[in-house]
Amino acid sequence: MSVPNAVEILLVEDNPHDAELTLRALRKRRLANSVLHVRDGEEAIHWLFAMGAYADRDTDHKPKLVLLDLKLPKIDGLEVLRQLRTHEETKLIPVVMLTSSREEQDVVESYRFGVNSYIVKPVNFDNFSEAVALAGHYWLLVNQEPK
């Protein structure tokens, strides 16, 4: 996937089918033009902090939303979230957990690390599309971010 000029949504998802369903749900609401999809926690960290393959990225540009899966190869979602929240320049980026897990410990941990929202991926496709679209719509179009 090519990197859009101005990434507004960073989608961190290792399951290609979940990713396709997510992108499709976003596309339906015309929110998919500026999505970057990365496949593990390490790639997410590299992009967010302009490291590795993304070393040349302009870090002044911040995404409006990170859609973060919990269970990811290499570096898991909680660790990505933790790193985002410990660095001054990434501290305020809205992060929404989008995960299969409804385990209480995962929800509590995510909130403890400062997640903005926690969404359990519905198994039903209509509900799933609706949840993704709502989250995208809210954070991109409704929410007022600090200037």
Partner: protein, 378 residues
């Protein structure tokens, strides 16, 4: 003569008391350590003749390494009237025994001597040591088992964690992609093709429901029961209201009596009412005059609660299957459900130390009971 004093013994009677005493006794001279007299029990127990004894000192019935301690003890306790202590003695045949020695100051003719009573406690000490060993073994085994259980529990937790993560993803794909085909290729699919895809999606959805229910079920087993005082009437009422507001076009008639309060985990007990009432509503929906009754009573050591409906009921032949996981007594097309509801009810009540049972006649409604033990506040 004072009433609490014994009448005096004659010297002969004292002699008899000494000679016939079942415990080994002797008198020795603390200055020379020589035996001055021994009784029959001592001769029998130690194996020396009276003559041999009178030619020996009290050092001679001890292992050599204990003699310094003996000498120190004799020195230290010279003027102590009565002493009890444990020593090792050696019999004539070389056997070592543990003895509890009680020694008294004793006037023997002209001499100030010591009268000694020796009680063989070898067997007693051996038995005590054995009990100690057994206790230690038992503790060892208990902590071993506890460790095993903890490991199994951890494994189970990891298992359900991975189930909750990994098993849902393929189902989401099955349902999602069926939907994509329906959306993108609707024009090229006839009604039968659409129906078939619909079945695939519906079954995947049902499997996801099964997974959810199974996780809830296994979660109840792992969860800690948090005991509080529970207002069962309010709990039952709120459970009923949550059910009729979510999925009922027409609510059944509810007849609720005042229930005895309980001591238990309020969230879990709420789940019990939700599941029982959900069933009651589901199986009485076919009736125009659907009525549900909730009641309870106090017995001596337990409170009994019940949920009664006038629905389709069940055949009591199958009552044993009722509370099993994934057991259903009705066809899926007739009444939806995964068959986990009553299993969950039973599990929760068992975890509270109570029990569940049910009565019914086919076509005449069913009554589900559960009993909770009444705990006295300590």
């Amino acid at each position: 003569m004072e009433a609490d004093e014994n009448p005096p013994f004659s010297e002969g009677q004292y002699q008899l008391l000494f000679e016939r005493n079942p415990l080994p006794m002797w008198v020795y001279d603390p200055a020379t350590l020589r035996f001055l007299t021994v009784n029959k029990a001592a001769i029998r127990h130690y194996g020396y003749s009276r003559k041999e004894f009178l030619g020996m000192t009290i050092k001679d019935i001890r292992p050599a390494e204990d003699v310094p301690a003996l000498l120190a003890d004799v020195q230290a306790n010279q003027s102590t009237p009565t002493v009890t202590s444990v020593w090792r003695h050696r019999k004539k045949d070389g056997t070592l025994i543990d003895v509890e020695i009680t020694s008294h100051e004793f006037q023997f003719g002209e001499h100030k001597t010591k009268l000694v009573l020796a009680k063989d406690i070898t067997e007693q000490l051996r038995a005590e040591a054995q009990v100690c060993q057994l206790n230690e073994d038992l503790e060892g085994r208990v902590s071993e088992r506890t460790a095993e259980l903890t490991a199994v529990n951890k494994e189970l937790e990891a298992f359900s964690y991975s189930v909750s993560h990994d098993l849902r993803a393929p189902l989401r794909a099955i349902i999602g992609y069926s939907q994509l085909v329906l959306e993108d290729y609707a024009a090229r699919l006839d009604t039968e093709g659409q129906r078939l895809l619909g079945v695939i999606a519906a079954e995947a959805l049902r499997m996801s429901q099964l997974i959810d229910d199974l996780l809830t079920f296994s979660g109840i087993g792992r969860q800690r029961v948090q005991m509080t005082d529970v207002d069962m009437t309010a709990l039952a009422l709120s459970a009923f209201q949550s059910l009729i507001s979510t999925h009922l076009p027409k609510a059944p008639q509810l007849n609720i009596k005042t229930l005895p309060p309980a001591r238990g985990d309020s969230a879990m007990l709420r789940q019990v009412f939700v599941n029982l009432l959900d069933n009651a509503i589901k199986f009485s929906r076919v009736r125009k005059d659907a009525t549900i009754e909730i009641g309870g009573s106090c017995a001596r050591d337990q409170n009994v609660y019940y949920v009664k409906d006038n629905g389709v009921g069940f055949d009591e032949k199958y009552v044993t299957k009722l509370f099993g996981v994934f057991q259903r007594l009705h066809a899926e097309e007739e009444f939806a459900g995964t068959g986990v509801g009553l299993a969950l009810v039973q599990r929760i009540i068992l975890r509270h130390g109570g029990k569940v049972w049910a009565e019914s006649k086919l076509g005449q409604g069913a009554t589900f009971y559960f009993a909770l033990p009444v705990r006295k506040e300590s």
